[in-house]
């Protein structure tokens, strides 16, 4: 069946099967690989997208249930100059190692800054509590977000 998303600011029609998750629809139908097909059971956060303003796990949502939703992926965030400071801060603080989980972290961070432009370190940690990094880069993420917030609020 066909669903319509407001995807990264653009109305997008997608022909999906009922058993597709949102992550699968984005990857298979649009070639968007930012939301990763990783644990696929709602544990690791690598598939995080922002749906209707909330950072959620695209692997645990049926695509057919997203008809009419607004969805943002890391590709859309990366394409906006407004969010360049966040990506720059991630690079500056080297808040990644292998990089596979990073898109999920960045999307969670963006959702946090959307609702809370001046987060504390604890609030940053809490917002990222659903993202897992097997390389163990955790301490750097809050630094990167706090840094980005400073630049963006400047």
């Amino acid at each position: 069946m066909t669903i319509t998303l407001n995807l990264n600011g653009k109305p997008t029609d997608l022909d999906v099967k009922t058993n597709y998750t949102l992550q699968e629809a984005l990857q298979f139908k649009l070639g968007l690989t930012g939301a990763k097909h990783m644990c696929n059971k709602g544990v690791c956060g690598s598939c995080t997208v922002i749906k209707d303003g909330r950072a959620v796990l695209s692997c645990q949502i049926l695509a057919v249930e997203c008809d009419g939703s607004t969805v943002e992926t890391v590709e859309g965030i990366a394409a906006q100059p407004k969010w360049k400071p966040l990506l720059d801060a991630y690079c500056k603080w080297d808040a990644m190692q292998c990089g596979y989980c990073t898109p999920g972290f960045v999307v969670s961070a963006k959702a946090l800054l959307d609702s809370n432009p001046h987060p504390t370190e604890d609030e940053c940690k809490e917002a990222l509590a659903g993202n897992i990094c097997i390389c163990g880069t955790y301490p750097r993420h809050a630094q990167a977000i706090l840094d980005a917030a400073l630049v963006m609020n400047d």
Partner: protein
């Protein structure tokens, strides 16, 4: 990737319920539990339809109305956690919602889904239904003796009747009486058995013990030897008979005639007399007991035990009229006139006509058993051929051998693996030197000059036809002669109804009395049937059950109270002995040496009580030992919430259950729509704390929610039992007290007073105790 399914967006609760009602459908809200379950193929069935309820308008809200907080079932946990109202007045719920999983999952998951989520037990969750446990239609709990460090400390919960109980024709609650034996409550164990079987001292010795074959332990070592434990209880009952066979305190004034003093008749008599009825048992034989007295050899069932049991019934006030001429002097029509109800339990004693050449030369095995002593005179040293593959045939063969037959050969239609006799009976026969030569059918008796010299048999190719009906097929070209001077037939028994005179109209079917399935009432009002005369030749325990059913039916017919021992709800926590269950070897009855065995001496000896206790400790008390993993559930219980569904309103405590596979009492088409919480009184405080191995994305090892500063404090813990656990003991400790170090510690102790941890869960008790103490002390800060 998910397997395909049909997807429906419901517009209303009714519409969603309608889809669920059709079956093969699953409901999706946040989807965080469901999609994982489906991706891993955890359950035996995969839904054909998924019905989305997020499209139902008006189920997502948090509002206060008339002193009650109302939360729509689709409200996301993140919104509940962030609600200033919830945080301020219903603190425990806000804290619990905040403790669930991760921020992402809280932004997806709903309160309705959180309380209805499935167990997290790793055996339950193993992909592709690798462990079909009893939450998934199986019969065992793999965690009970497996990896169980996240499991219960308060026992298990049965989803349905255990296998062993289901296999017992009388429905004896075997796990229950074994747990009573373990607890040293022999009187309780006796009552549990006698609830369905008044003669365990007899049945334990002769029963086929279907229960033992169904024991889950059989899959790994030896099944629990419930025959042996029943015998320990049976002999305990005999030794303390005054306690268990009391005359009733009150008489009903009703009179009942029972025809037949066998297991069915005596069983019915016991229950009817217990309830205060006057019971008279008639039997044509000079002694009571029926098949128990006359057909089952004394080496299996000593006759003094049967006589003792009958005398106990007499002491209860049951009258025996033995040597009665039923159908002759005592006519059915007179019985009906003279008694308020009549029960026919006359058994199956008749020799069947098989129709083969020389049949009249052969002896009916049952007659042989009844007349065994006289019959054997002068026949010692001869060869005997027994035809039949059931337990009676084994009795006949062994008895003949013990009486001095030179050689006993036994043959039957069935192949060795299909013989109807129980394994232990066949083993006994083989041990005693009976030659078993299965797979042959009767052809003719071979005689010379009127003297039997053998039995000609023909190869039996199959005993049943394609439709499963008994229809033996033979190879007429494959014959042989089994030599022997005596031929004993144990190929079944017929039912003799000649005592019912022609004018006495009662509905029969293929020579059996037809009775109502629930009451055992015959086509004549007030006339009942029980045992073999109704069901055809079957087991002793089957007759006991049938007699019990008749007693129930007669009570209803007469409008008198039906006697029943106090029936404790079987919905209760059950336990097993974590050490005792490690014992792989079942209790064997001590038996006389083969050389010392005789026809009139019991082969086996009753085990010591201590041996019975050891065996009882081997019972796994098959139940689910997984815990309820919800964080919000204990908060809702502590806050005395109500759960509203499309069908009813439940107290939060009543919502939770242990089903296949659900954690709630919700029906097939039942949907949670709203949570209602009464506003706690001013000055009260509620709080929730959780201990998990990881701060994020983890289920609780233990969590606890409290409501204090009220007249009646409420305390609920979760993840320590199959259902959220409300600790009434801890609440009692705190009632009317100020919370301080001492009272908080005492409450913690009280909360774990009733624990019975599994092998690896004891540590949780310490956590539960400390967590509760800290939570309570936290409310004073």
């Amino acid at each position: 990737m998910l397997r395909s399914f049909e997807h429906k967006n419901a517009k209303s609760v009714n519409e969603a319920a309608g889809v669920l009602e059709l079956g093969n459908a699953a409901l999706i809200a946040g989807g965080t539990d469901l999609l994982g379950t489906l991706k891993d193929n955890i359950l035996p069935d995969y839904p054909g339809t998924i019905v989305n309820i997020k499209t139902i308008p008006g189920l997502e809200y948090i509002k206060e109305e008339n002193g009650t907080l109302k939360i729509g079932a689709l409200t996301k946990l993140a919104d509940i956690a962030a609600s200033p109202t919830v945080q301020r007045k219903y603190t425990a719920l806000a804290q619990a919602a905040k403790a669930v999983a991760t921020p992402h999952l809280r932004d997806m998951g709903t309160i309705g889904g959180n309380i209805a989520q499935l167990p997290r037990c790793w055996y339950f969750r193993k992909s592709d239904n690798r462990f079909p446990c009893l939450r998934k239609g199986g019969t065992e709990c793999f965690a009970a003796t497996g990896e169980n460090r996240y499991h219960s400390i308060l026992g298990g919960w049965k989803t349905e009747t255990s296998q062993c109980t289901a296999a017992c024709p009388a429905g004896t609650d075997i796990p229950k009486y074994l747990s009573q034996i373990r607890a040293g409550d022999m009187d309780g164990a006796a009552e549990t058995i006698m609830k369905v079987n008044p003669m365990p001292m007899l049945t334990s010795r002769v029963c086929a013990h279907f229960c033992q074959q169904e024991c889950n332990r059989c899959q790994k070592d030896e099944g629990v030897q419930s025959g042996a434990t029943e015998r320990v209880v049976g002999d305990y009952i005999l030794a303390n008979a005054d306690k268990f066979y009391k005359a009733p305190a009150k008489e009903t004034g009703k009179t009942i005639a029972i025809i037949g003093a066998g297991p069915a008749g005596m069983s019915a008599a016991f229950y009817l007399r217990k309830a205060g009825n006057k019971v008279v048992i008639y039997d044509t034989k000079p002694e009571a007991g029926g098949m128990l007295r006359y057909a089952i050899p004394a080496y299996r069932l000593p006759k003094d035990l049967v006589a003792k049991f009958a005398s106990l019934l007499e002491k209860m006030g049951i009258e025996f009229k033995l040597g009665a001429k039923i159908g002759d002097e005592i006519k059915p029509s007179d019985l009906e006139k003279n008694y308020d109800a009549v029960l026919y339990a006359t058994g199956a004693w008749k020799r069947p006509v098989l129709g083969f050449s020389g049949e009249d030369l052969a002896i009916f095995g049952l007659d042989f058993l009844v007349e065994v002593k006289n019959w054997m005179d002068g026949k010692v040293g001869q060869e005997v051929v027994v035809m039949g593959g059931g337990n009676v045939a084994m009795d006949v063969a062994v008895t003949a051998k013990r009486l001095g037959a030179k050689k006993v050969k036994l043959t039957c239609l069935e192949t060795r693996d299909k013989m109807p006799a129980s394994g232990e009976e066949v083993a006994r026969a083989i041990e005693e030197g009976i030659e078993i030569d299965p797979g042959w059918g009767l052809s003719q008796v071979v005689s010379e000059n009127g003297k039997i010299v053998g039995l000609e048999v023909k190869r039996c190719l199959s005993t049943v036809d394609a439709s499963g009906r008994f229809n033996p097929q033979y190879d007429e070209n494959d014959k042989k002669v089994l030599t022997g001077e005596n031929i004993l037939l144990a190929t079944g028994q017929g039912i003799d109804l000649s005592y019912l005179d022609e004018k006495y109209q009662i509905q029969l079917n293929r020579g059996r009395i037809v009775t109502d399935e629930d009451s055992n009432e015959t086509s004549r009002p007030g006339v009942f049937g029980a045992g073999d005369v109704v069901n055809g030749p079957a087991t002793v325990i089957g007759s006991v059950a049938s007699g019990h059913k008749s007693a129930n039916g007669i009570s209803r017919y007469l409008g008198v109270d039906y006697f029943s021992y106090a029936n404790a709800s079987n919905k209760e926590y059950v336990f097993f002995d974590t050490e005792g269950t490690k014992n792989p070897i079942g209790l064997k009855l001590k038996e006389l040496d083969a050389a010392a065995r005789a026809v009139d001496k019991e082969d086996s000896m009753t085990p010591e009580l201590s041996e019975g206790v050891t065996e009882a400790k081997r019972c796994l008390n098959c139940a689910c030992y997984a815990v309820n993993p919800s964080d919000t559930a204990p908060a809702l219980i502590a806050l005395d919430a109500k759960i509203v569904t499309n069908h009813r309103t439940l107290a939060a405590e009543e919502l939770f259950d242990v089903n296949e596979p659900s954690n709630t009492v919700l029906g097939k088409d039942e949907i949670i729509t709203e949570i209602q919480i009464p506003q706690p009184p001013a000055g009260s405080k509620s709080a929730f704390t959780k201990l998990a191995l990881r701060k994020s994305i983890d289920f609780p090892v233990v969590n606890v929610a409290v409501l204090v500063g009220v007249e009646k404090p409420r305390i609920a813990l979760n993840a320590i039992a199959p259902k959220p656990y409300r600790s009434l003991k801890a609440e009692a400790v705190l009632a009317g007290k100020t919370i301080d170090e001492a009272t908080a510690t005492a409450a913690g102790e009280a909360a774990v007073a009733d624990i019975q941890p599994l092998a690896a869960t004891k540590y949780k008790a310490q956590i539960a105790k400390t967590l509760l103490k800290r939570t309570l002390l936290g409310t004073t800060e």
